[in-house]
Amino acid sequence: MRFLAALFIFLFANAASADCPLDLGRGTGWVVFSDHYMIAFRPEPIRIEVGQPFSLLFNVCTKSNSPAELLAVDAVMPEHKHPMNYRPTIVAGADGRYRADGLVFHMPGRWELSIDVRAGEESERLTHDFILK
């Protein structure tokens, strides 16, 4: 079965500031957050298919709505304990916007995406799970 990206629709009324919009267009994608960070992202193409390269578009913000830095993106299958066979590269845009290219999930099952972000001195890893079928 195909993995549909439109799983979560978040309504963050107070986060919808112009500096750090969480909507990456099309109104779909995911939002992950911690005490310090809020990250919105969506895949391109919009469906992630087993074995097919895809990119992730990010908007990385601090909780106080200022842009933050995306350091690294990676993924593993925790059950099988293996990484991706591909190493993504990150291209930075303006205002906390980033694009990670060259991701491939080569098996069905659970993939754990890790997103390393930084604002000032503090860096942090946020994660998100995908179940591919």
Binding site: G51, P78, E79, N85, Y86, G102, V104, M107, K133
Partner: protein, 382 residues
């Protein structure tokens, strides 16, 4: 065979039940055939004139140094586009089995070690390899310029006369060869009829798929865990794995598989990052650009497609298993010591009963059908 036939009527009453998740997993192995894909790195991909030229070149022994070996020597239409041998044989014995060319146009890594990142680049290897056709760019260039039919076929396919740059002509020749190979799509099978009926909810049609094959399929997508690697319509995720086949070629000499393949890929002037990629967007080179070398790549080989698998003369990259029964026994008894995995092992001894092994083999054989007879290619420039 007779015994099995006598025993089956009793079983014919049972039904195999499929959960929603199982139906979805089965659905992912189709539909078949998929639409033909155009390779953006090959500007003549999918073009009839290039396909025709490619088929002629495929059968032409003048691409080889001794004038006696063509692609069709080792990839024979009547032998499942392989050679009927456990390991390839060129001017000397080769260390790996000749893979079938069915559905090769849908792949993205080529060769058992994935040393090729496009069908056309992969096609250069046998032409130049001294153990195989031992040819050269100069020889290919001369042939395309001097042979009347091929020169005419070249002009029709590429829209200009064959030039003087031999390397360029070698690349054009393999692009035509690739266009031809991409047309080799295996026929629909009993499994495909079952899969379509199951997805459509047509119970009468699903009942025509024998119970043993249905039970084998249930194992394949269930406890066997086979479809984590043998995924999708071609029954391969197109990547690499280690299923516990020995990687010693001779005492003291190993086939490092994917690890060596990645080194060859990086060193090839014909990879998709090089100047012969016709895709200006660069998108077709995404895998080549991002692939990373991992410790685990040592001893990994490409996950083979399982379509038409019952027709192979031997199995695995080294042809070390002679029959599908042996392959299934291997997965049933494989040693965990040989497979170093810290997580839940993808391949582990399944401990199958004789009935389960029979079912799994029956399922694998249902991925097979007789291809329609092939006609001789029309002449290039009548």
């Amino acid at each position: 065979m007779l015994l099995a036939a006598l025993m089956s009527p009793a079983a014919a009453q049972e039904l195999v039940d499929w959960s929603i998740d199982e139906v979805r997993a089965i659905e992912r192995h189709g539909p078949w055939p998929p639409p033909l894909v155009r390779d953006p790195s090959n500007r003549v991909s999918g073009m009839p004139a290039a396909i025709a030229l490619g088929e002629h070149l495929f059968n032409d022994p003048r691409l080889s140094a001794n004038g006696r070996m063509s692609c069709a020597t080792c990839h024979q239409a009547g032998r499942n586009w392989s050679d009927g041998r456990a390991k390839g044989f060129g001017t000397v014995d080769l260390d790996r089995r000749t893979p079938s060319l069915w559905n090769v146009g849908y792949a993205h890594w080529f060769g058992w070690d994935g040393a090729g990142d496009s069908l056309w680049a992969q096609t250069i290897r046998p032409i130049l390899d001294r153990r195989e056709m031992a040819g050269s760019a100069a020889q290919v260039g001369r042939l395309l310029r001097d042979d009347k039919d091929l020169a005419c076929g070249y002009e029709r396919a590429f829209g200009s006369k064959a030039g003087v740059d031999d390397e360029h002509l070698l690349v054009d020749a393999v692009k035509a060869l690739a266009a031809f190979q991409a047309t080799l799509v295996s026929p629909r099978t009993r499994f495909d009829a079952f899969r379509d009926a199951l997805v459509a909810g047509d119970r009468a049609a699903t009942a025509r798929y024998p119970l043993s094959e249905q039970r084998g399929l249930k194992l394949f997508i269930g406890t066997g865990n086979c479809d984590t690697c043998h995924f999708g319509p071609r029954f391969t995720n197109g990547e690499f794995g280690d299923v516990g086949i020995a990687f010693f070629v001779r005492p003291g000499e190993v086939d490092s598989g994917r690890l060596g393949g990645l080194a060859k890929l990086a060193n090839s002037p014909f990879n998709l990052l090089g100047r012969y990629n016709d895709d200006a967007s660069g998108a077709s080179a995404a895998r080549t650009r991002h692939v990373q070398r991992l410790h685990a790549n040592f001893g990994e080989f490409r996950v083979p497609s399982l379509r038409q698998v019952g027709r192979a003369a031997a199995y695995m990259h080294d042809g070390s298993l002679a029959t599908l029964e042996e392959v299934v026994r291997h997965y049933s008894e494989v040693s965990l010591d040989r497979l170093h995995s810290d997580g839940t092992p993808l391949v582990r001894p399944l401990g199958l009963t004789p009935q389960q092994r029979t079912d799994l083999v029956a399922f694998l054989r249902s991925l097979d059908a007789d291809p329609p007879p092939r006609l001789a290619p029309p002449s290039l420039c009548p």
